[in-house]
């Protein structure tokens, strides 16, 4: 066998081919603005948007205050609303203008104190207040309702203490909140975002770059070289795995240092579970690109089957427990769901093995299935 032939067919050849493919892919990533945008710009934008902009908390909620008969008691109550950071009370002369403000969306609720408020407050039955809420966003409305009750209760308690009387309460509820004691939505949104970002890199970007090779005719040229299909797939996996882990590291760093999200679990658990999730996402991406050979279709498929579920069906924003049973079953097919559970536990609770282990196993299973399927489906043929 001539030396060159030996070189080409031996292990050295496989190593050389793989090195060539990986180097090519990295050069392309560096030179392609759209890859850089998806891998680095989009994570930063999403994190900043969710970290600073979007918040599921109610803060400075505009609330119309209609006081029919102002006096010391009503002034105290209105003051109590103003003293919390949750509300921004706006005094309105009558119900009519308050309703108009509500219709126009200038206020999210109306607190109505009737003319007999003070008189009844001092009587045995106690005084009612009327609360009208904009219920379009039901979650938000419930949140405000809770806060209003909180303010109202606190004001009554404080008033009673000042007067030296005890408030007649049947049950004394003393709530304590675990894991996210400050109710900061950022603390669970930012870890969830890491899932979205890694889905983008793992599935969307991978599917797009494979489809691009088909579109530009370079895949055809690759296929007629002595390269194995296995090597082409690994040659795609390695660069995007590195890129995905890079995106993960960037997001974790931003979460911890910029947004002060606590990281209570260990870093190695986070890294390992991220690697498992990325395996599943990359497998999905490759599988899509084997079916769809143009960037438009591949992009749409990736968004519908991976990116949107990562947002909606992962438990990242919407609680899976409160979804209908059928939808809950569907979420079990989404790798993102398991990773969200791991991330939220890892960040907010710590290394809770009974939660981490089953989710990690599920991710591993999905990674094996998707990667195995792409290996089986990928043929060194044009059909």
């Amino acid at each position: 066998m001539p030396p060159e032939r030996a070189w080409r067919s031996g292990r050295g050849g496989a190593h050389m081919r793989l090195r060539g493919l990986v180097r090519k892919e990295f050069l392309q990533i560096l030179r392609d603005p759209s890859s850089i945008a998806i891998a680095f710009v989009m994570p930063v934008v999403l994190l900043l948007l969710f970290g600073y902009g979007v918040s599921m908390d109610a803060r400075h909620v505009p609330l119309a205050m209609v006081v029919e008969q102002p006096d010391a008691d009503t002034a105290g109550l209105v003051g109590a609303f103003g003293n919390t950071e949750y509300f921004h009370p706006i005094a309105m002369p009558d119900m009519r203008s308050a309703e108009r403000a509500m219709l126009a969306g200038r206020v999210s609720g109306i607190v109505h104190l009737r003319a007999d408020f003070s008189r009844r407050l001092h009587s045995a039955g106690g005084a009612p207040i009327q609360l009208i809420l904009n219920g379009v966003d039901a979650n938000y409305a419930r949140l405000i309702q809770g806060y209003v009750q909180g303010v109202w209760g606190a004001w009554l308690t404080q008033r009673a203490r000042l007067q030296g009387a005890r408030l007649p309460l049947a049950v004394d509820l003393q709530p304590r909140v675990w894991f996210n004691g400050n109710f900061r939505s950022r603390d669970y949104l930012v870890p969830g975002l890491i899932v979205v970002i890694m889905t983008l890199i793992g599935a969307l970007l991978t599917a797009l770059v494979m489809a691009r090779e088909w579109e530009r005719g370079t895949m055809e040229a690759l296929l007629v070289t002595p390269v194995r299909m296995r090597e082409i797939l690994i040659g795609k996996l390695i660069p995007y795995f590195v890129l995905g882990m890079g995106g993960m590291a960037l997001s974790v760093a931003m979460a911890v240092w910029l947004f002060q999200v606590p990281l209570r679990g260990s870093l190695w658990v986070l890294t390992l579970s991220s690697a498992l999730f990325l395996g599943a996402a990359l497998g999905m991406g490759l599988l899509i690109s084997i079916t769809a050979r143009n960037q438009f279709v591949a992009g749409l498929l990736a968004i519908i089957t991976t990116f949107l579920p990562a947002f909606i069906l992962s438990g990242f924003i919407f609680d899976i427990g409160s979804m209908p049973t059928v939808v809950q079953w569907i979420t079990r097919l989404m790798a993102a769901r398991y990773f969200v559970a791991i991330l939220q536990t890892s960040f907010l609770a710590g290394d809770v093995w009974p939660v981490l282990l089953p989710n990690a196993l599920a991710l591993m299973g999905m990674a094996v299935i998707f990667l195995g399927l792409s290996r089986r489906r990928a043929r060194k043929r044009l059909e």
């Binding site: 060159e4 067919s9 040229a221 070289t225 002595p226 060194k380 043929r381 044009l382």
Partner: protein, 599 residues
């Protein structure tokens, strides 16, 4: 049918590099099955250039892909270099070099990085690389461009880089899929020189596919493919030789060349009649060719002269049989009987993209009823010019007017005088022929009786009745082209823009297409057409040859050829083709450039 294919004497086992026997290949699922290859048998022998020749859609690319193991045939056997291409594709692939139609280059990688990638994939030992690269870069003339991104290379340079990448490990069999399509004639000639050198110095075996029939004569052996079947196999001379004494050139200065062609084309005994410069080239059937002088007897002032047959004569005769060409009926186009004069006027037109001039200082006029051609390779600036004329792209500088107005700012009435047919035909693939016509008729604002009448006229005039309810995406390419032209003519425009209208259609459809265009021009329609088929320039009344955004030459085909003859060394007796003229002009321009640089 002529059997040129007294197939070459059966080659001995070692001499055979590629053999296909009884290969069938289908694509798609019923009811949209396309049979790409029908029982193809062929042999490619060692150490020579074999040309796989046929129009687009003949099955050339499918055949190449089957030979390299990228596709598996439904039936039949494929032996490449002693291996079964379907089952042992990896062995085949480590021994063949295959350049796909789009060259397979990574445009965001530099020349050197592309070479490195393919050297890695082909397993070229690190020590062997430096001398190999040097050799390839020298051969392709890319040595000073190794750091440039492949996407920034010209079409001709991309083609050479693609070739260098497939040659990085010297293959035993080189498969080139339409390497010369869309590349300028100079690069095309250089590619052929490289191919000859590979065969001569390294006794490489080359199978090269092309849609340009005139390239047949450059091959040692030719396999003629048409509609998935092998029509013939032999030396190029074997094909044209039987036609010796049947090809003639008719000249009649008193009759216009189009009228002459139209009259000759319908005469009994004439198999083929095409315009060639100021003459009409005819192929006669065997009987008529005995008495050629009888042919132009009723044509005043006509003379007839025998010429040597060429490959295309043979091809047309083979697929047409000895049936004469049918006369083409052109639906009456009421080219508004305006006064003669200039219809399109272009003065010092520039178009910049960033600091790159796609079109620079362009000036020309097109007169009423004229067929004006813009000729050039991909990237010469034809399409940019075209888009500016149609008002789809603003000019960066200069003036232009079409029918007296700038179409970018023109009213709908001015635009209604324009018909436009794009390269991709712009048809709705999932609508039927009739639905496409109806849609375009409405888009042009035709209503009521005229709407119906124009559609009926188009269906009959373009012989599309048989396909009335066929989805247009399933039409044969020639019919798609007819339909696209019919759509562009529905509103009876008096100016017609045609962007690469004939790319991909077979020579017969092309003849028919040009006959229609000729008839339209006779009827007063002004036609502006772009093409990269040098030979099609012969159909134009006047033309501009473009290269790198500038006009190299402007005039009638004869004038341009004469100018080129002046520029090149005149070779008496040799007929100058448009391609020779193009190459001479480009080289003259280059010489001038270097002289100016030196001065």
């Amino acid at each position: 049918m002529i059997v040129a294919a007294a197939a070459p004497a059966p080659a001995s086992g070692t001499d055979l590099v590629l053999r296909l026997s009884g290969v069938d290949k289908r694509f798609g699922k019923p009811p949209h099955v396309v049979q790409a290859l029908h029982g193809v048998d062929l042999e490619v022998r060692r150490g020579r250039v074999t040309g796989l020749i046929g129009p687009d859609g003949a099955g050339k690319t499918t055949l190449m892909r089957i030979a390299s193991g990228l596709l598996t045939p439904e039936r039949g056997a494929v032996q490449a270099l002693g291996f079964d291409a379907a089952r042992q594709s990896l062995q085949v692939q480590s021994r063949v070099g295959y350049m796909p139609q789009r060259f397979g280059l990574y445009e965001d990688l530099s020349v050197q990085e592309n070479l490195d990638l393919y050297a890695d994939l082909q397993g070229v030992a690190p020590t062997a690389r430096a001398p190999r690269y040097r050799e390839l870069m020298h051969m392709t003339g890319l040595a000073s461009f190794t750091r440039r991104l492949a996407g920034r290379l010209s079409g001709g340079m991309k083609q050479k880089l693609g070739l260098a990448c497939t040659l990085v490990h010297p293959p035993e069999l080189l498969l080139l899929d339409e390497p010369t399509v869309g590349v300028d004639p100079v690069s095309r000639r250089e590619l052929w020189q490289i191919v000859y050198r590979l065969v001569r110095e390294q006794s490489m075996t080359v199978l090269l596919s092309t849609a340009y029939l005139d390239e047949a004569e450059r091959c040692a052996e030719v396999i003629l493919l048409h509609e998935g079947r092998v029509l013939g196999h032999g030396a190029p001379g074997d094909f044209s030789q039987p036609l010796t004494g049947r090809s003639f050139r008719v000249t009649a200065p008193d009759i216009g060349k189009r009228a002459l062609q139209a009259r000759l084309g319908t005469k009994p005994g004439v198999v083929d009649a095409v315009i060639q410069g100021e003459h009409v080239r005819v192929v006669l059937d065997a009987g008529t060719a005995q008495h050629p002088n009888a042919l132009p007897r009723d044509l005043p002032g006509a003379t007839i002269k025998p010429v040597p047959p060429r490959f295309e004569d043979a091809f047309v005769t083979m697929i047409r049989g000895d049936r004469p060409g049918r006369p083409v009926e052109v639906p009456a186009m009421t080219g508004a009987a305006n006064t003669d004069g200039t219809v399109i006027q272009v003065r010092h037109l520039d178009r910049r993209f960033g600091d790159f001039y796609a079109v620079r200082d362009l000036s020309f006029d097109v007169r009423r009823g004229e067929v004006f051609g813009l000729l050039g390779a991909n990237g010469a600036g034809k399409s940019t010019t075209f888009r500016m004329l149609c008002g789809l792209l603003p000019a960066s500088g200069g003036r232009l007017s079409v029918a007296g107005v700038d179409l970018r700012t023109a009213s709908a009435t001015a635009r209604a005088r324009i018909g436009y047919m794009s390269q991709k035909f712009s048809l709705y693939g999932n609508l039927s022929v009739h639905q496409n016509l109806r849609f375009f008729a409405s888009a042009y604002g035709l209503t009521g009786r005229s709407h119906r009448q124009r559609i009926d006229a188009a269906l009959t005039g373009f012989e599309l009745e048989g396909y009335r309810d066929t989805e247009s995406q399933t039409l044969p390419l020639g019919y798609k082209q007819r339909l696209a032209l019919a759509c562009a003519l529905l509103h009876q425009p008096d100016i017609l823009f045609l962007d690469e209208p004939t790319s991909g259609v077979d020579p017969l459809a092309r003849r028919e297409f040009w006959a229609r265009i000729g008839a339209l021009a006779e009827g007063g329609v002004t036609v502006l057409v772009t093409t990269h088929f040098m030979e099609e320039a012969e159909y134009c009344d006047r033309m501009a040859i473009m290269a790198a955004g500038r006009i190299l030459a402007l005039g009638t085909p004869e004038q341009i050829k004469a100018r080129a003859r002046g520029a090149a060394k005149p070779e008496p007796g040799e007929e100058t083709t448009m391609e020779d003229a193009f190459i001479a002009l480009i080289e003259a321009a280059k010489r001038q450039e270097t002289q100016t640089d030196a001065a």
